[in-house]
Amino acid sequence: MNELRDSAAILHVGMKRTGKTTASLQMMVEFVEKQGKPVVVLDLGCHPSFDNFRRITLEELPKIHSLPGKKYFVYRPYESLQVFPEILEFCTMVSKYVRNAVVFFEDFTTYVEGNFHPIVKGLILNSRNSCNDYVFNVHSFSDVGPFILKHCEIYLVRETIDDPNDLPPKIPYTIRPTVKQALALVLKENQRNRNKYAYRIIYKEENRIG
């Protein structure tokens, strides 16, 4: 029996005010406390939830395990006009030198869309080998490219603007019925509870809702 879990790329989908950030913070706590993994948030929007995280530099990424203090880090590019090269550099540093850690890509679609750069593709494909977990927070399925939909092992689905009956064709054919079902359950639960905090987890490899 395998007692260790493999790392995963997790797609966290949900529109605004569905509890994405709160759940992300709670996941971060669990990653750090239960899993012993340091957390890095790539945050371009300077979200106030991450203001108390220690700001990490690219040069410090390889030493992430030996940095003192709590293992909650945030990377915010310094040069707002040079943001894309800095993100690619961040991804390169993570791929090359960071192991056994978790990276949260906050509002992922604001800086990566369409065809992914090979560096980003490599980062996602090597998550298992590098034992890094990646969490991509996005607002809807229609926002993200087919590559990430194909290669994320887990979908964490909240209420989105996507129509469960008319899902984007880029969602892999085999998983579409499950996504449709999960979205319908979320909507139903939210209507019942009169809020937007419902979610469902889809384990893609097993094609089941957790």
Binding site: E3, L4, R5, D6, S7, A8, I10, G19, T22, A23, L25, Q26, M27, V29, E30, F31, K34, Q35, G36, K37, S49, N52, F53, R54, P62, K63, H65, K70, Y72, K96, Y97, R99, N100, N129, S130, C131, D133, I154, L156, Y197, Y199, I201, G210
Partner: protein, 217 residues
């Protein structure tokens, strides 16, 4: 300090997934520390030197300030002054020689030399007093001789002085060699300095001899 969020839910959505410990790998070697950038030291382009530019300081002008001892500074200043001085002395000597030659008419100096030789053999001191023409030749010739002797005396270098200059110039050359600044121009400049400072006596001797010879014709 990071505070765990107050979550309205019990645990995170991934609590069950995260209840299993993760697989880990050995971390890779960290990147090597960045090597300091090797910047090629830019040396100011040396000014094109002519033979005379070295005399007037062009060749000794260094692109950046160098540390010299007080003795070295004094020696370098001495060489510089001497080189300038030598040029001025030689030009002066040349002008003086031309000027004094112009006071003599053709044959006058030869006549003066004859009087002088007679004076030496006869031992008569006031031979010219009776004839104003002879007296004039005598005075002119004497002035000519005295001028040339003064030139020779002025440009005569003592041995110690010449050695000191030679040492200073040599030290300058060695310093340039250590700083890898020796090129054809600097060598020719130093040779010129050496020639001027060490051979100043001979140069002025050549000028005075040439002046005497031409006056005798």
């Amino acid at each position: 300090m990071f505070q765990a969020p107050t979550n309205p839910f019990e645990g995170s959505p991934l609590s069950s997934f995260l209840s299993t410990p993760p697989r880990t790998v050995a971390p890779p070697e960290p990147p090597p520390p960045p090597e300091p950038e090797v910047t090629e030291q830019q040396t100011a382009p040396t000014q094109p030197n002519s033979l005379l530019s070295s005399v007037f300081g062009g060749n000794t002008a260094t692109p950046e300030p160098e540390r010299l001892t007080a003795d070295e500074i004094r020696a370098r200043a001495e060489v510089q002054t001497r080189t300038y001085g030598a040029v001025i002395l030689l030009v002066n000597a040349l002008i003086e020689c031309v000027k004094v030659s112009m006071t003599l008419k053709k044959g006058e100096y030869a006549a003066y030399l004859e009087l002088k030789s007679n004076l030496a053999t006869d031992g008569v001191v006031n031979v010219y007093e009776s004839d104003p023409a002879v007296k004039e030749i005598w005075l002119k010739g004497k002035q000519f001789d005295e001028t040339l002797e003064a030139i020779e005396e002025e440009t005569e270098l003592e041995d110690a002085e010449a050695k000191m200059l030679f040492k200073a110039i040599k030290a300058d050359l060695e310093r340039k060699n250590q700083r890898n600044e020796v090129n054809d121009d600097s060598i020719s400049g130093i040779m010129f300095k050496l020639m001027l400072t060490r051979q100043l006596t001979n140069f002025s001797g050549l000028i005075t001899t040439f002046t005497r010879r031409s006056a005798q014709r």
